[in-house]
Amino acid sequence: MTQQAVIEISGLTKSFRLPGREIDALLDVNLRVAAGAVSGLIGPDGAGKTTLMRLVAGLLLPDAGAVRVLGYDASRDALDVQSLIGYMPQRFGLYEDLSVQENLDLYADLQDVPASDRPARYDELLQMTGLGPFTRRLAGRLSGGMKQKLGLACTLVRSPRLLLLDEPTVGVDPVSRRDLWSIVYRLVEEEGMSVLLSTAYLDEAERCFEVILLHEGRVVGQGTPSEFSEPLSGRSFRVSQPGILPRRLQARLATRAGVLDAVVQGQSVRVVMQPGRMLETGGGDSDNITCEPVEPRFEDAFIDRLHGSRDGARTLRPADHAVTPGKVIRVSGLSRRFGDFVAVDRVSFEVSPGEVFGLLGANGAGKTTTFRMLCGLLPASAGELSVAGLDLRRAPARARGRIGYMSQKFSLYGNLTVSQNLEFFARTYGLRGARRRQRLEWALSELELARYSGAASGNLPLGYQQRLALACALMHEPDILFLDEPTSGVDPLARREFWSHINALADAGVAILVTTHFMEEAEYCDRLAIMSAGEILALGTPPEVKRRALGVEGERAGMEEAFIALIEDREVA
């Protein structure tokens, strides 16, 4: 690399001591971040991205190695570094009880921006972020996307030479994500700023000039996105077969010999082959199957590089459920108000047995509130809802006996072992004797938790915690499974495995209701509802939703584009 570097890191190691264990957050990290470009720090949760960001910002001291930022040592000359950089932490660092203008003023004071320079800079920032009309609004009253933009504006009051953004796009709606990226590009092009941005979204890698791939505290690779994906050319295909649900096709292809990765993409399945292997398209169930080569993308490279680090996942084998005909979940005109605030506004939908139904939306769209009402955890303000044929207002306990619920935070007892957690949930669902033992064994073997059965669940890797949470929710073999952001923060490999379990459960006749803010996961749903500000904007199968948003030619587009179009339509209306 001949380009000048804004960050040079050599031999960087950092570990944290927690009661009873030590976590190596970063292990012998060496890297250079180029000047005048957007560099992406990419990796799943727990990869060490935030630790690396904080070390660069001088907020943490390294155990070994050195971090040089713009020529200064980040630990020894932290103040010098901090006067040259802008840093937006994950939670944006805003004072929610101050207005937009007051937040800007505070950061301008802290950055020692002279009063004479301010009006021009404020105008520029407010125009860039679109916050101009909201200067008097309290930061706490802004939407997630607006908070993120205000956080960005605050770090930019004194144009920094290096901008550090720690997961700025997490939990923010796709429109705000797109806006953020356009601001970042503008800063790089017009002000010559260097940007280091961390993200867990693999699709954002393609937007970076250079990508640093971090996994379990180590740099797994560094290069331009195309340098990552090029070696995979000739190994990626789009496979489609009319008349079969894409997720079924995906499930079948994923187990074929030589297939490294298979994910649903629209109405087809994107397949990545192992090196030197060709997809065998013959066989009895392969009528009309078509297979066309496609350009490799960053995610393919990610899977390729990290696949070896995980033991081969197996498909869940749930017992068949007696499928009762008709809908198992009926919701009509469901609303929930908190004071003046309408969290859920006249929502209606139905779910059949064996169906995967998705609720899609940004943070604050009302997904979790809808869920809590469906589980009987929160009374509805208005509307009808029945679950498993039972009215939740009259028989909440009986209805809950048919429901399995896995919440965002997994709701495990961190200091109980894996078996103790399973045992506890089995007992709360009233399982006894032989049946309890049988379900425990099932969970330990089918979800491959046996190896960890004696480990405290709080110490497990996130992917295993997720498996355990799923096992706990399935102890009583529910007919209906509620999954609230089940894959949030889990790495792409664990997410794939999780969806294969969901697929298997749906095929066994379980009705599945899932919320997510990962747009690509929407493709796994048989039907879905896109939610924003408490309302359903569109409802139907993924192609129907896309058609609704983008017209007939939109069917092949991604769900994210459909989402953006729907939100923009609504804003115009």
Binding site: G58, L61, Y87, R91, Y95, L98, L106, D109, L110
Partner: protein, 370 residues
């Protein structure tokens, strides 16, 4: 003052105005605590239910019994004999029994000792001792008057003429209320700052602030100054309530009071800041502030319980309780005046403690997240 400090101060004042919880801590809490303890905690006995048994009615016996009738300390109830009075004591209806025996008149006139019998319920040692003292006083007064009226010399070798200084009425409120002001302001000061740094940690705002050129000294000033102003407001309110609501006399000078109050508030704010920096969690910080500052101040400051009568080891421990020094200063200023021999050493102790706590908090506030 640098632009950064001004920015921090403005931010803090805006937050105080928008989130009234710190205003409530600064003003409502001391007022509430002062009302609660000022009226609730009293070392005086009044209207103590007392059984009076006159075994043989007579002029002398009636005269003495009527003393209780007219005293504000007692609520006497007449019982006809020892047994029924005893039952009333057992049932908790009375706290003591005054028994005038059948030969009361003869004993008074003669020089036989112990003409009356007093039985006190000693379960609550404190009120028992009070009752004992009051009855004794009543007896001596009555005796003096009775004998004086008959021009008979009192056959006591030494005549005790007590004079009580500083608080001649022996109103316990006069020394309790200044002490309470110190105790309450310990809690108020510590809570004000205990919550604010922890709040910045919890909300993730400190992280963003740290990556600006701001120094931790500036952050410290930005945190102490606004709450110092609020705390002094609460202090002024407490003193005003002591003077005008509880009618405690004030004999010192106000500038000494203001100076010492400021010193003490700095100690309390420093303690809160140290707690906040250490716990980084609002809930824990709140609990620690109550347990580590309020309780020791309440028990070990000498406000309620005399330090001189504590075990020696506990007496040493009291030296670590800042409220102890402020209680001494306040009680002196309110009841005695500017007694420099008391004020100067206690004020010096406060200065040392303020330097210690704020200094330690400053050392623990560094621009690292660990």
């Amino acid at each position: 003052m640098s632009r950064r400090v001004r920015g921090l101060l403005r931010k803090e004042f805006l937050q105080v105005l928008r989130d009234p919880s710190s205003i409530a801590i600064a003003f409502l809490m001391p007022a509430f605590l002062l009302l609660l303890f000022g009226y609730g905690v009293s070392m005086d006995a009044s209207n103590v239910p007392l059984a009076v048994v006159v075994e043989q009615p007579g002029a002398e016996a009636e005269s003495f019994a009527s003393v209780f009738q007219h005293s504000r300390y007692f609520a006497p109830q007449r019982y006809i004999d020892r047994a029924s009075a005893r039952r009333a004591l057992d049932a908790g209806l009375v706290d003591g029994i005054v028994l005038l025996p059948a030969d009361f008149a003869a004993r008074v006139k003669g020089d036989a000792s112990a003409p009356i019998q007093l039985i006190v319920n000693g379960v609550n040692a404190n009120s028992a001792r009070l009752l004992e003292g009051y009855v004794e006083g009543a007896w001596r007064n009555w005796l003096e008057r009775e004998l004086g009226a008959r021009a008979m010399p009192l056959n006591q070798p030494v005549m005790l003429q007590p004079r009580i200084w500083f608080n001649p009425g022996l109103r316990s409120r006069n020394y309790l209320v200044p002490g309470l002001v110190a105790i309450n302001m310990t809690l108020v000061g510590a809570l004000l700052t205990a919550l604010v740094m922890a709040r910045e940690w919890e909300r993730g705002t400190l992280e963003a602030m740290m990556v600006t050129p701001v120094s931790m000294r500036e952050v410290l000033i930005g945190k102490v100054l606004p709450y110092f102003v609020l705390g002094m407001g609460g202090m002024a309110l407490s003193v005003a309530m002591a003077l005008w609501l509880f009618q405690v006399p004030f004999r010192g000078s106000f500038w000494v009071l203001t100076l010492c109050a400021a010193l003490f508030l700095l100690v309390a704010l420093g303690m809160g800041l140290l707690i906040s920096v250490t716990t980084r969690n609002q809930f824990v910080a709140g609990m620690v502030a109550i347990i580590a500052t309020f309780l020791p101040a309440f028990l070990l400051s000498g406000m309620l319980f005399d330090i001189g009568s504590m075990p020696v080891v506990v007496q040493w421990v009291t030296h670590l309780v800042a409220a102890r020094y402020f209680v001494a200063i306040l009680q002196t200023l309110f009841l005695a005046g500017d007694v420099w021999g008391v004020i100067v050493p206690n004020a010096l102790a406060l200065i040392l403690m303020a330097l210690f706590f704020i200094g330690l908090a400053r050392r623990r506030m560094h621009k690292h997240l660990e």
